[in-house]
Amino acid sequence: MSLIESLSTNLPKLLDGAETTLILTGLGAALAAVFSPGLALIRLFGPTPAKMLLRAYISFVRGTPLLAQLFLVFYGSGQFRAELTGLGLWSFFRDPFNCAVLVFVINSCAYQTEILRGGIEAVPPGEIEAARAIGMTRARVLARVIFPHAYRIAWPALGNEVILLMKASALASIVTVFDLMGRTRQIFSRSFEFSVYFEAAALYLLITVVFVFLWRQIERRLTRHMRRTQGS
């Protein structure tokens, strides 16, 4: 089979899979981003028991394979089927897509929290003092000084995290989600057509390249004020 022929039969399916990959990644990263700023604050300034709990959560997520986490939620929920049905949650856990998103959120949130913590710690203390000195409330200092700064600092690392999540989302295929990887395996198992793997690889790389480009564009906007000092 020629490459063109192979592409024309495979591409629609692969693109469909890529769409799922993007949704999985986007949903996971975005939902994690909702929780991470609050958690980062708790991680830094919260009460000790909460800090300890967060540290344990982050350490657990970082110390276990994503695949194991995915199996724990997707297959593990079956052990509590009766209870979950009673709560009306069983239909959620029965769907591998939902479980994958849930795990990705839990996973990415841990990494994003750590990255943001680093960003917050890197905010120059003088700027925080200056904000306090003009009488800003704590909330305003957070919203106007600390977080804008922290996100600028953390932006490249957050981008890396999204790419890692995108790659990791391929694991969803193992619990039968038909993302890009899932479609690829499906095509290969039917046709034993090895080139489909390379087509998938190219698509993953394309997604990464486009994402890196877009992320850098946003970074440029975020760091507009820095550009003059960086020299030209």
Binding site: S59, G63, F71, I163, F198
Partner: protein, 236 residues
């Protein structure tokens, strides 16, 4: 009931899980030197004076780091499998279809991935060795080779260790993927136990805790190694 589930013997699954852990550790330990060696080769290419080699090094790290690990694993496993069978068809058709040994496929795939990341860590570390250290070696008449072996390489360790530590943790976790290609590692042993006991949450949680323990243990060792590598650099 927990005790019987995880006991060591015919009723419990303790021994099976332990055997799985052993495979996981062997896989990671076998991958490390292969990946490191390949990483050095790729780093050398990336730092080469020849544009062609540099481009190859860059291409390798970019592609390998941009692909999901599981995809790399399938490409290696199925690709080597297809290749092996094609060879067998040609030379010894009486044998019939065989599978490529999953352990070897796992080592190769994980090493290919590890090497791409390791190459970046090594490249950064090489560039982090201060120029003065090299100049001092040249000034007493060392050859380029002596400067490499006596000055650059011993200091490389210090700059590369934190990054390498992270890669080792990732490697430990990535071994779980190999369960997908029928290798009896911890993940697969857990799956078997789940199939029999119908207690997926209990067993997958146990597996998670074991991986967590392995990572925490590794971190402990890595912290020590880093302290050792930095001896003499940071003020006591």
């Amino acid at each position: 009931m927990m005790e019987t589930l995880f006991s060591y013997g015919p009723q419990g699954w303790g021994d099976e899980l332990l055997a799985g852990v052993w495979v996981t550790l062997r896989l990671a330990a076998a991958t490390l030197p292969v990946g490191l060696l390949l990483g050095f080769v790729v780093a050398a290419a990336s730092l080469s004076r020849r544009p062609v080699l540099r481009a190859m090094g860059w291409g390798y790290t970019t592609v390998m780091r941009g692909m999901p690990e599981i995809l790399t694993l399938f490409i290696v496993y199925n690709g080597l499998g297809l290749g092996l069978n094609r060879l067998l068809d040609h030379f010894a058709p009486q044998i019939g279809a065989v599978d490529f040994p999953p352990f070897a496929a796992g080592v190769i795939a994980l090493a290919l991935v590890f090497a791409a990341f390791a190459a970046e860590v090594l490249r950064g570390a090489f560039q982090a060795v201060p120029e003065g250290q090299v100049l001092a070696g040249l000034a007493i008449g060392m050859t380029g080779r002596q400067v490499f072996w006596r000055i650059k390489l011993p200091q490389l360790w210090r700059f590369a260790l934190p990054g390498m530590g992270n890669l080792w943790l990732n490697l430990l976790k990535d071994t779980a993927l190999v369960s997908v290609i029928a290798l009896d590692d911890l993940m697969r042993a857990t799956k078997v136990a789940v199939g029999v006991t119908k207690q997926p949450f209990t067993f997958y949680l146990a597996a998670c805790l074991i991986y967590w323990g392995l990572c925490l243990g590794s971190e402990l060792v890595l912290t020590r190694l880093e302290a050792r590598a930095n001896r003499g650099v940071r003020r006591a």
